[in-house]
C-alpha cells in the first residue's frame, strides 16, 4: 500500500478539527499551569514548613505518569462525587502535572534575580506584594520564558494521552479514521507532521518573545 494523497487531503479537515481541540486543551492547561506554578513557587519561598510540606507532593506528581494521573482523575473523582468531562479532566490533569514542573522553573528564575534587587526592595521599604509585583517578577519573567516555552512544546506532545479518556483530539480522530477506513498510514503520518509544525511554530514564537523580553526588561 502506498501513501494516498487524495485520501490524505480528504481527511485533512477532520484532522484539523482534532488539532483545534489539541491546541485548546494545551493552551488552557498551560495558562492554568503558569499561574499554578507561580503560586507553588511563591508558597515554597514563603515559609520553611510550607517548602517542606510541598516538596514531596510536587516530586510525586513530577515522577509519576501523566496518563495514570489522567485516569485517576477521570475514573476516581466520580467516586467522591466530582464528575468531570473528558475535556475538564484533560485541562485539570495537564495543568496540575505541569504546574509542578513550572514551579521548579520559577524557583530557578527567582534565584536568578540578582541579590541586590531583593536588598534594594527591602531597603526601599516595599512590602512583600509590592516587592514581587514591581521588582522581582518583572525581572524573573525573561529568565523563565525559554524553559517555560520548552514545557509548552512538551505539553503539546503529551496531549494525545487524553485519547485514553476519549477526548476528541488529533490522535483520537486519526485512530478513528484508521479504524473506519483500515488506512492508518495517511492519518498517522499527517498527525505526526501536524505535531512537528505545531512544535516548530511554538518554538519560533517563544524565541521571538525571548528576544523582545530580553531587550526591555532585564536589568544587569
Amino acid at each position: 500500500m502506498r501513501f494516498d494523497f487524495k485520501f490524505a487531503l480528504e481527511i485533512l479537515p477532520l484532522l484539523m478539527k482534532g488539532a483545534a481541540m489539541t491546541v485548546l486543551v494545551t493552551f488552557l492547561a498551560f495558562a492554568l499551569a503558569i499561574v499554578g506554578g507561580l503560586i507553588l513557587a511563591l508558597l515554597r519561598r514563603a515559609h520553611r514548613n510550607l517548602d517542606r510540606a510541598l516538596r514531596l507532593p510536587i516530586e510525586f506528581i513530577r515522577s509519576t505518569p501523566l496518563l495514570v494521573q489522567i485516569l485517576f482523575i477521570y475514573l476516581g473523582f466520580p467516586t467522591v462525587g466530582i464528575v468531570l468531562t473528558a475535556f475538564q479532566t484533560g485541562v485539570l490533569a495537564m495543568a496540575l502535572h505541569y504546574s509542578c514542573y513550572l514551579s521548579e522553573i520559577y524557583r530557578a528564575g527567582l534565584e536568578g534575580v540578582q541579590r541586590g534587587q531583593w536588598d534594594a526592595a527591602t531597603a526601599l521599604n516595599f512590602n512583600t506584594l509590592d516587592r514581587y509585583r514591581a521588582i522581582i517578577l518583572p525581572q524573573m519573567v525573561p529568565l523563565v520564558v525559554p524553559a517555560a516555552g520548552n514545557l509548552l512544546v512538551y505539553m503539546f506532545k503529551d496531549s494525545p494521552l487524553l485519547a485514553a479518556i476519549s477526548l476528541v483530539e488529533l490522535v483520537f480522530v486519526a485512530s478513528k479514521i484508521g479504524a473506519e477506513s483500515f488506512r492508518y498510514l495517511e492519518p498517522m503520518t499527517l498527525v505526526g507532521a501536524i505535531f512537528l509544525v505545531m512544535g516548530l511554530a511554538t518554538a519560533r514564537f517563544v524565541a521571538l518573545l525571548e528576544g523582545r523580553l530580553g531587550a526591555t526588561w532585564i536589568k544587569r
Binding site: S63, L66, L185
Partner: protein, 222 residues
C-alpha cells in the same frame, strides 16, 4: 481477601512488565543517544544533517503518535511487528533523540584545552574521544540524563495504547472488573514513584562513581 491478593498479583505482574519495558527501551535509548550525539558532531555534513533529521522527527512528533505509527501504519508498508518490540522501538528511538541532545551538549562542554592536550600527546581522534573527552562528558551528562530516564519510565505508560499489559493497562482493566478505582490507581501511582526513585538513586550512585572524571573547572577571563 483472596480477591485482594489476586488484584495485587495482577498489578505486581504489570509492574514487572513496566520494569522490563523500561530496561529494554533504556538500553536502546542510551545506545541511540550516544550514537546520534556523536554523529551530530561528525565531520561529514551529510551525516550531521541526517542525524539532525532523526532527532527532530522523533523529538518533534509525539511519542503516542510514534507508537500508533509503528504499530498501525508500518504494517501497511509491509513491516509488521509485535506490540512489545514496537513499544521498545518507539520509546528507545524517541528518548534516544532527546538523550542525543544531552550527549552532544556534554561533549561540547568538555573544555577545548582537553582536546588540545590530547592532540599534543599525539592521540588519534578515536583514542582522544574514548579516553579523554568521553569520560569527562559522561560526568557532565549524568545529571540531565537522570531526568530523561525518569521521563522514559513515565512514558512507558503510553505503551498501554497498543495493548501492552503493563501497569497502567492492567490498572484500567482491573478497574473495569472491581470498580475499586481509587485504591487501584493510588497504588499504581505509588509503584511508579518508587521505581522512579530507584532510577534516580542508582543514577546518583553512578554520578558519584564518575565524579572523579569530571574535568578541571575552567575560569574564563571576562
Amino acid at each position: 481477601m483472596n480477591k485482594f491478593l489476586e488484584s495485587a498479583t495482577l498489578l505486581a505482574g504489570g509492574a514487572l512488565v513496566t520494569v522490563e519495558l523500561f530496561l529494554l527501551s533504556a538500553i536502546l535509548a542510551i545506545a541511540m543517544s550516544v550514537i546520534a550525539g556523536l554523529l551530530r558532531l561528525a565531520p561529514s555534513r551529510i551525516v550531521r544533517v541526517a542525524t539532525a533529521c532523526y532527532v527532530e522527527v522523533f523529538r518533534g512528533t509525539s511519542l503516542v503518535v510514534q507508537l500508533f505509527w509503528l504499530y498501525f501504519a508500518l504494517p501497511t508498508l509491509g513491516i509488521s511487528l509485535e506490540a512489545f518490540p514496537v513499544a521498545i522501538l518507539a520509546l528507545g528511538l524517541c528518548f534516544g533523540a532527546y538523550g542525543s541532545e544531552v550527549v552532544r551538549g556534554a561533549i561540547r562542554g568538555v573544555s577545548s584545552g582537553q582536546y588540545e592536550a590530547a592532540t599534543a600527546l599525539n592521540m588519534g581522534r578515536w583514542v582522544r574521544m574514548r579516553s579523554v573527552v568521553f569520560p569527562q562528558a559522561l560526568a557532565l551528562l549524568l545529571p540531565p540524563y537522570t531526568n530523561i530516564l525518569v521521563q522514559l519510565l513515565k512514558s512507558t505508560a503510553a505503551a498501554s495504547f497498543i495493548t501492552i499489559p503493563e501497569l497502567a493497562f492492567r490498572a484500567t482493566s482491573l478497574n473495569q472488573v472491581t470498580f475499586a478505582t481509587v485504591p487501584i490507581f493510588a497504588s499504581v501511582l505509588i509503584v511508579y514513584f518508587l521505581i522512579s526513585l530507584a532510577i534516580s538513586q542508582s543514577m546518583r550512585i553512578l554520578e558519584r562513581r564518575t565524579g572523579k572524571w569530571r574535568g578541571p573547572v575552567v575560569v574564563r577571563a571576562t
